[in-house]
Symmetry: C2
Subunit: 479 residues, 2 copies
């Protein structure tokens, strides 16, 4: 196998789905060959990448007063079944434990499909007075769903390995509304840092998370033009609280229902990063989350090997206080290393050969633009900082223009029916349910959600009935 | 309830077991009231504490070249059952998934009781040549064992929430031996940082981890004089590799078996910290792992409330660059706050009232010695650094002297039989199996392990046969 072939993948534009699978395997993020379908092994490089992504989320959560907890993975059927009044859909996808060693379990036990049920059960003992509220907790831990649709790494899995679920508890409905707005802010900040473009939509009443009053979804668009839900912020009002007897004594001496919200993200965040920024040579990682920001590749020349290696180490120690640097001292040939680190998406490669040694400079290669420049060693730190910032700018701009190419505002039903085949499409909507349903029927896909009052006063007419439109509503194929 | 009563616990010396349960609940580490026996909810304070503990372990693991990975929680029976050739004992404690939604699972699926089986299965595809070795990986993720003995929080649980398991893969037996020694070094460094005393013993051949050639155990002693195993470092040689066809092509063109090791710790580390350092007022946390190192408690005096609060904030901002500081602005009375933060084991409390305000000093209270001193604000950072170091020294010294009080070197069988009732006892051993068994029989407990050659050339005689002793062997009651 030639150096190029080892890291060759199908072009992204030719077969996105295969490209995605090949890239996550060749860049050593996941090993897909696990003997349970829909479950994957996270390799060191992929794990570190997810840790960097999750640490951004954790910083945002801590800043906004959320505390990390851990609840067990196992939930008794009796507790979970109270939730089933709302969440009928989950029943078909629960992993059930029925045997303990050689014995039958006295009661069926579920692997958590999500943690509302068990948290509410326990929280009902934590909350007695208005003084105990608000409570904002989250955990990062796997959840389990026996997905019956075709599984896909990171996108549709049976063990969601990196599930961040936040749950909050409030005295009043108004506070819960504010909290959900805060959750949307957290998501927007998070995806801004990942340089992932998105729209935020409110789901349609007939499509809302079961048991919820309303929820917002963060939606991005994959290279194949299909919408991908990246996170939800859900206002349950006091619906769940009623099921779990979650009440508190208010200042006025009245016993009242607690208002609750929840919000979650998963490794789909990384799937979006890979899919949106990646190219035909593999990953292109945003510098903030790249496990390695700079890789140094020495180019040995006869008789200069040792001096080039020494100089490479000097360059490494110059950089490692400010950046995550790796010096590739392995015995592979430079060409092989180039392809490897391009595949792994390292934002900057530094090449050091005899010329660089003699001039006390380095050649800096940018993964985003595949461009080189020479930099003297005494200007290196400063210039690298600038380049990393510029890589962020470029990746973000490319991603947003890529995103805009995949959305379309349809002015009439014909345009909608045509454009929805390849894009995510918005249209003007009056807000009436029957008009929404008609678009779903004619468009052939479900509505993704709508932006409330986005068209208010703009004079646009509902694409169906021609009444005045208030909302921008979205439709598209989706994951 | 008075302020004192809210944070009162049974004296540690009177009923250690009840003290332990009361302290972990009142200090808000765990909520034990989870509806599945042997599983617990980790509260924010407890979670943060475990995170601080695990980050020490992670630092040591990274320094020594171990990489973090994640393997799914679910293992098919066919994979696990190959391990059962060795690990018969696990069979009775496996949580088995037999139903997926409403359907029967085509094959029984286990929640991992440990990850050897599944890792070996997968690693057999990662390893083909000597160039792929060594591999050193670890994960921090729950494991599940249906313990049939009485469960105890952190000590005997059915969901080990913080299981750190390391697995390594080597070309030669000698490298595996070196690795196991490195693992012991990691554990010793780790427990030194936690200020937890220990002995390191090699387990007896008839007591070794199933499928292992030998293993070392790190053992501490709890306040009730019972031994607690805190970690294991296991050399499997090529035994596991043979079961899982884990082979590699060596430089000499020969196909050879891989040599493997594994090592694990759990939340028992925290149990030891709590049990060994705690006192009748609750936790006493080593500064390195304390979620809060300094709590500031304002003591309001009439007409000075606002100025005292302002000064408290100034003190906080003076300290927070170097330390983890919390200013308790809640409306509780100072006495209540004192008891609360003592229970939660915060190493230093700063009290600020009118006197302190007027003299621009603070009163510093040390949790370890329950002693106060006045410190001027401009000397504060420097002095706090010294005090935190001294707290470490005091906790460590107290713990080691406490430990030494609970061990005893028995010179003859009568001393052994008597002392083993309350202590962990060592004795001189020749190394013959029958002598070991006789001590177990007469002593009434299993041997904990032995220190190889610790008595070599010292002229001590085997406590049973009177032959020359080489090993110091240990016996005691244990958890």
């Amino acid at each position: 196998m030639s150096e190029r072939e080892a890291y060759e993948v199908v072009p992204k534009g030719e077969d996105f789905s295969r490209w995605f699978d090949e890239v996550i395997f060749k860049s050593e993020i996941l090993d897909e060959r696990y003997p349970v379908k829909g479950m994957y092994v996270w390799l060191p490089y992929g794990y570190e990448l997810m840790e960097n992504i999750m640490s951004i989320m954790e910083r945002l959560l801590r800043q906004t007063g959320h505390k990390r907890v851990y609840f067990p993975s196992i939930v008794p059927e009796s507790v979970l079944s109270r939730e089933f009044r709302f969440i009928k859909g989950f029943q078909d996808s629960v992993f059930w434990i029925t045997k303990l060693g050689r014995q039958d379990a006295p009661e069926k036990l579920a692997l958590r499909p999500t943690s509302e049920a068990i948290m509410y059960e326990v929280l009902s003992r934590w909350i007695s007075s208005y003084r105990d509220l608000p409570i904002r907790i989250y955990q990062i831990a796997p959840i389990y769903r026996y997905e019956t649709k075709a599984t896909r790494p990171m996108l549709r899995v049976r063990e969601v390995a990196f599930f961040k679920e936040g749950h909050t508890f409030h005295a009043t409905y108004e506070e819960a509304v504010e909290q959900v707005n805060l959750e949307v802010w957290i998501y927007k900040s998070f995806y801004d840092e990942l340089l992932v473009p998105y729209i935020v939509v409110k789901t349609l009443p007939w499509d809302t998370f079961p048991g919820a009053l309303y929820n917002y979804d963060i939606v991005t668009i994959m290279p194949d033009g299909k919408a991908l839900e990246l996170g939800s912020a859900i206002n349950f009002g006091d619906l769940f609280a009623r099921t779990y007897d979650l009440t508190y004594m208010d200042e006025d001496g009245q016993r009242k229902n607690v208002n609750t919200t929840s919000f979650g993200i998963s490794e789909r965040s990384l799937a979006a990063v890979i899919a949106i920024h990646g190219d035909d040579r593999g990953l292109r990682l945003p510098p903030k989350i790249a496990p390695i920001q700079i890789v140094i590749v020495p180019i040995p020349t006869k008789d200069y090997e040792e001096r080039i290696m020494e100089y490479s180490r000097e360059v490494k120690s110059t950089l490692e206080r400010s950046f995550r640097v790796h010096l590739d001292e392995s015995e592979e040939r430079p060409g092989y290393k180039f392809y490897k680190w391009e595949m792994k998406g390292v934002p900057i490669r530094i090449e050091i050969g005899r010329n660089e040694l003699e001039r006390r400079e380095v050649t800096v290669f940018r993964r985003d633009k595949m461009e080189r420049e020479a930099i003297p060693i005494d200007k290196l730190n400063e210039r690298i900082s600038e380049i990393l910032k510029d890589i962020e700018r470029v990746l973000s701009e490319q991603a947003w223009s890529y995103f805009r190419e995949r959305i379309f505002h349809a002015r009439n039903m014909e345009e909608l029916i045509e454009s929805v085949k390849t894009k995510v499409v918005s249209f003007a909507w009056c807000g009436k349910e029957e008009c929404g349903h008609e678009v779903e029927e004619k468009g052939g896909y479900g509505l993704l959600g709508y932006e409330e009052d986005a068209l208010k006063g703009k004079g646009e007419k509902c694409i169906v009935c021609g009444d005045e439109a208030r909302h921008r509503c979205w439709i598209g194929r989706s994951y």
